[in-house]
Symmetry: C2
Subunit: 120 residues, 2 copies
């Protein structure tokens, strides 16, 4: 299955932002960003760790989005993976990653990009 | 956050295997593999598409596992992402990916490996 997997590892994020530690706030932001990018959520799960940090995933008809936050380190990791089954979703994936990064206003980001699989 | 992200894109999987199309079977297999690898599940969500195919994620204390199946193509994509926060989970991640691949008995696999982030 041919697809595009984007990752971004963010540093220097303000731990006071609700999306850094509030599972409901992060969930809402993720779902809004997914819809704004024109992708289709089909399920999600978010978990808050003690004393802080949230991890969550939105399942997409096109694959998935994952977010992990470490408020104590000002760190966040993002994954956006879309399969290009029936349509090229690469531009949507890039728009979604940009929107998620913007939500955390990081001082720095390390990004990777994997072209996965083979054309079906 | 320093971590290891492993992906495998499988081809030639038998669509008759329960893990290819049965969300409950895939969920059980994933959770068993996570526990056998010594990783800690903290939540999960699985979704079955019509007419076939399952997508699912297990959230880990160490990050996440994601599986997407396309029975009609004999294709599966796997992600295992572990953060090395407090311990080096790389060996556990490799063991988990191997166990998940084994569950699908693919004819072929394309793998990628990303060392993510910086040492905290």
């Amino acid at each position: 299955m041919q697809g595009l997997h984007l990752t971004a590892d963010l540093s220097g994020c303000d731990p006071a932002r609700p999306v850094m530690g509030d599972a409901a706030a992060l969930r809402e932001r993720c779902l809004a960003a997914v819809r704004a990018a024109g992708l289709a959520p089909v399920g999600e799960v978010f978990h808050r760790f003690e004393p802080g940090g949230v991890t969550g995933v939105v399942l997409l008809a096109e694959s998935h989005v994952a977010v992990h936050t470490w408020p104590e380190l000002g760190a966040v990791t993002l994954d956006v993976y879309v399969c290009n089954f029936g349509a090229d979703n690469s531009a949507r994936a890039r728009a979604l990653l940009a929107a998620l990064e913007q939500a955390f206003a990081p001082a720095g980001a390390q990004r990777h990009e994997i072209v996965r699989g083979t054309q079906a």
